[in-house]
């Protein structure tokens, strides 16, 4: 069966510091991968999605970037965090772009 791992679960970072959140999927090949941000426990905002290695689509202009160095690995990064980057970040995968997605447990990021 497929599983998705996302870490860390909680992170507190100072303003201006870098960020790296990692997500890996097991039990499937060539998944579509997503990074979402959820503010105040509501409304999933799609940040990035990837249909293959090295292929990243950015949905909103921001202080973040994403990379997919391996088929089942998706990384969310920032060179310098802003206070507004605080939020709940969710990684997800799906077999296709328009089928159900399955989520990791999320990372709660607080920038102070």
């Amino acid at each position: 069966s497929q599983t998705i791992h996302q870490w860390p679960a909680t992170l507190v970072q100072p303003v201006g510091s870098p960020l790296s959140l990692e997500c890996t999927v097991e039990g499937t090949s060539n998944p579509n991968l997503y990074w979402y941000r959820q503010a105040a426990g509501r409304g999933l905002q799609l940040l990035f999605y990837s249909v293959g290695i090295g292929q990243i689509s950015s949905e909103v202009p921001q202080n973040l970037s994403a990379s997919r160095p391996q088929d089942r690995q998706f990384i969310l990064s920032s060179k310098k965090l802003l206070l507004s980057d605080s939020g709940f970040y969710l990684c997800a995968w799906s077999a296709n772009l328009n089928t159900e997605a399955f989520f990791g447990q999320g990372t709660r990021l607080t920038v102070v």
Binding site: Y34, G41, R42, G43, L44, L46, Y49, E59, L90, N96, L97, N98, T99, E100, A101, F102, F103, G104, Q105, G106
Partner: protein, 111 residues
């Protein structure tokens, strides 16, 4: 512009009550509608409704798709405190584009 609207945004009920959550959509080339439950962390998949499967049921939860009204309802009967969560609706428009999400309905079930 494709959009998904959920209502109500927030709901508080007592244990044993029945609740009905709504999701309406406007998307190009509709194929399916998805319901998720989100407790503390990751949203968990509940149902997928399509033109060929317009009603789904699992225990006390059931969902119906009304393609004529461009909407779906999620019904929870005999609610329990464990049903407290945010319920999210999502629709994948056609042309292989990503899911369009509603803002969710926050349900609180009080003992």
């Amino acid at each position: 512009e494709d959009k998904v609207v959920q209502s109500p945004l927030s709901l508080v009920v007592h244990e044993g009550d029945t609740v009905t959550l709504n999701c309406s959509y406007e998307v190009t080339n509709f194929r399916s509608l998805l319901w998720y439950k989100q407790e503390k962390k990751a949203p968990t998949f509940l149902f997928m409704l399509t033109s060929s499967g317009i009603e789904k049921k699992s225990g006390r939860l059931s969902s119906i798709l009304d393609k004529k009204e461009l909407s779906s309802i999620l019904n929870i009967t005999a609610t329990q405190t464990g049903d407290s969560a945010i319920y999210l609706c999502a629709v994948p428009p056609g042309n292989n584009r990503k899911l369009i999400w509603g803002l969710g309905t926050s349900l609180a079930v009080n003992p």
